[in-house]
Point group: C2
Chain length 128, copies 2
């Protein structure tokens, strides 16, 4: 059963090489790498889906962690070559959590630094 989905932005561009005109879309590879890792290691309730534009644009790679009745977290500045282990581990912690809020000390450094935003689940009520 899927309890967390990693949405990976496949649209944002990253400059590549010395040529200012050169760029790639690193999210496309990241979807494939995470998918292969989940197939190899066991999904652990986690799915991955590429998305055309999470509208962040300036902080590739950008992902969102979403799940039913959970807070949604948007994380940017992720390195698709070095941080796949952290992304998959963080998604598993998120999937295992009750409400999507993973204790701060259990979050990898990339997730602490890269937070772009979070959104509560729809039934969230705050006491003001």
């Amino acid at each position: 059963m899927t309890t967390a989905t990693i949405f990976v932005c496949i649209s944002c561009r990253r400059s590549s090489g010395d040529d200012e005109e050169s760029s790639d879309q690193p999210g496309r590879g990241l979807v494939e790498t995470i998918g292969a890792r989940l197939r190899g290691d066991g999904r652990g309730g986690v799915a991955v889906t590429g998305v055309e534009c999470l509208a962040v644009c300036t902080r590739p790679c950008t992902i969102a962690l979403s799940g039913a009745n959970k807070w949604t977290y948007l994380i940017g500045d992720l390195d698709p070559d070095r941080q796949v282990d952290e992304i998959v581990a963080a998604a598993r912690s998120f999937a295992a959590s009750e409400n999507g809020i993973v204790p701060w000390h259990e979050r990898p450094a990339s997730f602490r630094k890269g937070v772009i935003a979070r959104v509560p689940p729809l039934d969230h009520k705050e006491l003001l």
Copy 2:
């Protein structure tokens, strides 16, 4: 029936006055103002809820528009004194939309400029 919720961040601070130490939390007033507007004009399927921290922090006021089976939109840099009409109108357009994606030409200028991120609904599948 509520088909859209405006989550307003009540935590982020805005400097106020000449004193660098002075700041207020404009989201707190914005929740009240939107709530009064919805009670006065009719809710139109829209609810408003204050939230302790949407984790954007640097672009007050920040809101999220959320709804079942809709894309979620995060919008920042909103002026709580001048843009309440735009916020409520945009939330009504969002509520009336099928999937949360309001046509570009129907979005107020503040929403075009202020987009921080968007996240698809959980059942979103992209053809890659």
